[in-house]
Symmetry: C2
Subunit: 169 residues, 2 copies
């Protein structure tokens, strides 16, 4: 396989997200599929800049993260035939953040998808951690294959419609 | 008491939020204190336009909601001496939304504030409902007095620093 244009990875805290797991990239944000989604279609949007806390972002970064997040949420709701969405930023360790790099969770929701609405959040607690931890929730979920992740990213990339790998520089 | 300039209330779904419970108002968003906060300092930021779903917002509304939300979150983290923040939009009934008017929850977090991080979300489920419902969480929490709410709003208004009642038209 030929090397992609620009860099092959984007930093997400201590992790490197390969381009083939990404489906949106803007000047200030990028979106990617999840190794251990709490529900099918649970994706993440992060800032390009590797910064831990929401309050460290510039207004431009805040706007872009959420405006791109809205583009993503429209596609996720449609593709996964959801009726609702959970949008959440776990901002800091005491709020359940495990990767110290600002990111928005977008999770498609359906009536009755969890016995209680709040069950999704116990799943979410370890959801953004790609590194093995002691989180029970994280440990309990089986990581997906690279092929599954690439296939989902490719689908979402087509739905979003303006993927530009050259942005990854 | 003399009537405030402009309207005395801002619509929040079926509810009317009195000015004295608000502490920030911009062209497109407003922030107000909570009748039944899940933690001290749990506040809400809503769009001025009474619209139910995040995906119905214009890009300008998304940006303003979150940029104002960041202003609020900085003040909340400082005033409530928090180390983290939970930022969440319950977007649609299947995601736990009870007031069909887009709003962001900002909740100050401290290590150990809940036995498990996800416990906050079971509290959150009924948190935005000012109307009596069958939600156990909502029913269990005792509403605060109008005086408490006004005092908190006044404190936060001073911290935010640019309250302009004339914006409420």
């Amino acid at each position: 396989m030929s090397a992609p244009a620009g860099k092959a990875f984007v930093r997400f805290g201590p992790n490197a997200i390969p381009l083939k797991q990404m489906f949106l990239i803007s000047k200030l944000s990028f979106a990617f599929v999840n190794l251990k989604p709490v529900r099918p279609g649970h994706v993440l949007i992060a800032t390009r800049r590797d910064v831990a806390r929401f309050n460290d972002l510039t207004s431009e970064e805040v706007s872009d993260l959420l405006v791109q997040g809205q583009r993503v949420s429209k596609v996720i709701e449609r593709v996964y035939k959801a009726s609702s969405l959970t949008l959440a930023i776990q901002d800091g360790a005491a709020a359940g953040q495990t990767v110290p790099h600002v990111h928005l969770h977008v999770i498609p929701r359906h009536m009755g998808d969890f016995a209680s609405n709040d069950d999704i959040y116990s799943k979410l607690e370890g959801a953004d951690n790609r590194v093995a931890t002691s989180h029970v929730d994280n440990e309990e979920r089986t990581p997906r294959s690279a092929e599954d992740m690439a296939a989902e990213a490719e689908l979402l990339r087509k739905e979003i419609g303006d993927w530009n790998e050259a942005e990854v520089v």
